[in-house]
Amino acid sequence: MIILGIETSCDETGVAIYDTERHLLAHKLHSQIKLHAEFGGVVPELASRDHVRKLLPLVKEVLLEAEITLQDLDAIAYTAGPGLVGALMVGAAFAKSMGLVLKIPAIPVHHMEAHLLAPFLEPSPPQFPFLALLVSGGHTELIEASSFGEYKILGETLDDAVGEAFDKVAKILGLPYPGGPVLAKLAEKGNKNRFIFPRAMLKRGLNFSFSGLKTCALQHFKEFGNAEQTKADIAFAFQEAAVDSLVIKCRRAIKEHNFTQLVVAGGVSANTRLREQLNIMGKEAGVVVYYPRLEFCTDNGAMIAYAGARHFMAGKKTDMEIKVYPRWEM
């Protein structure tokens, strides 16, 4: 079974082809980072305008690279939400129209479920059930994944998503947009003993909070100035506290629910420090930790194609409505 995957929910156009027998055949990504950089954040109308320009050329490229033709496709998967409505619409309309002509289903995929399934694209994938930590620009969630399609949120952020906090603190420090990865890089030069930031909501529960941490970074920046070393020290302290909060809640969820596997996905799962700390915790707690390869941590078409393939095999029905769900609970 061969599936074309299309991702256009935010500021990356991602396209991929997944074959249930031969696995990932091709994938391409176009990032809009440069387009939005001068505005310091994603401008929805600009994002949509770019998707409609880039999507079809990318589709042509993956078909070539995978050495298949349109007739070889068994289904098309597209991100239906959550995301920016105009951006989602481009992928949805294109996918549904292709499906209509080729007489194959165009399957709506939940972007966060696709993130969660991204580690299944790797050579030794996890197996249900498992605990998932979804950490991205818009989400911070601990999810009990009992089986494919059966997910329960055990904990989530009460304010900012962790990726959003990385980006906001980066902005405070004057780092280029989008700041998350840049801040992580700067943190490597930080003095470990200079600042210690508070970990929020440690005592109980599985929810997160990152807005206090952001405020704390801002206060330190105002008080201690913007020397390069100070900024690195703040970056370090912020990252340590953020990573710590994530690790502590994972450990708690694992203990409470006896998980044996932890799946980490979403943009922030690319963070080196987070991976280090989770691996240490995993060893101690006796759980195996799974991650997507680095390029599939952030938005991409491969995870959409994979999630679509699973839905297709589960017999998901589709119709001719071009459906998008900008807000969509998993």
Binding site: R49, A93, S97
Partner: protein, 223 residues
């Protein structure tokens, strides 16, 4: 006549049309915020009634703007998806030209100024005249202007069409005698114009990935 499927979702209306066997059939409905629900079923229906498959068509046409950004992008994405998978070329048709064609066909007005409300004190402005084949052709490029920037020299005999004339009625009344209160673009006029472009083999007949919206308003973000 070439077999062309045309769609338009640039306004609150949603429409599709098909030209074949020297006739045009169409579907038109008001569908504010519901184009995504109706557009593909309407396309499917009109083709099955004509007993045609996509591969038998000569081209896909779409109302490429100006209009609602979301609407013209939807039409472009659908046109791309249909055309790419059936290996057909695409013809993008100005929505202002389609309105001009409508008043020509329905009211016999051969010289038309089109003003569609673009909000922010501006209108999408087009100037059209019918050629000897009864097809509206632009005599100036479509553009985004303030009503006060409209030029009425040598346009004394023209009639207006579009929502802009209603919105800026007081202003336009000073310059023009009359306008037609129509603003919903219809695919049946898009298909007529596309058939003409197709026949002429204009550079307007393009590969699917070149089927892009024409927004006219380029500045949409501020630093």
């Amino acid at each position: 006549m070439a077999k062309i499927l045309a769609i338009d979702t640039s306004t609150d209306a949603c429409s599709v049309a098909l030209s074949y066997d020297n006739s045009i059939c169409d579907r038109f409905m008001m569908a504010p915020s519901a184009h995504t629900k109706f557009i593909l079923p309407m396309i499917d229906e009109i083709l099955s009634e004509a007993d045609l498959d996509y591969k038998q068509l000569d081209a896909i046409a779409f109302g490429q703007g100006p209009g609602s950004f979301t609407g013209i992008r939807l039409a472009a994405s659908v046109a791309q998806g249909l055309a790419f998978s059936s290996k057909l070329p695409v013809i993008g048709i100005s929505t202002l030209r389609a309105l001009a064609q409508e008043v020509f066909v329905e009211l016999g007005l051969a010289q038309v100024l089109v003003a569609q409300d673009a909000r922010m004190q501006e209108v999408y402005w087009g100037e059209y005249r019918a050629d000897s084949f009864e097809i509206m052709q632009a005599i100036a490029p479509d553009r985004l202007i303030r009503p006060s920037e409209a030029n009425f020299d040598h346009r004394e005999d023209f009639v207006g069409i579009g929502s802009g004339f209603g919105v800026y009625q007081e202003f336009f009344a000073k310059n023009m005698v009359k306008f037609v209160a129509k603003q919903y673009v219809q695919a049946k006029y898009v298909v007529q114009l596309a058939a003409d472009d197709f026949f002429k083999g204009k550079e307007k007949v393009v590969v699917a990935e070149k089927a892009l919206p024409v927004y006219l308003r380029e500045k949409v973000a501020w630093v």
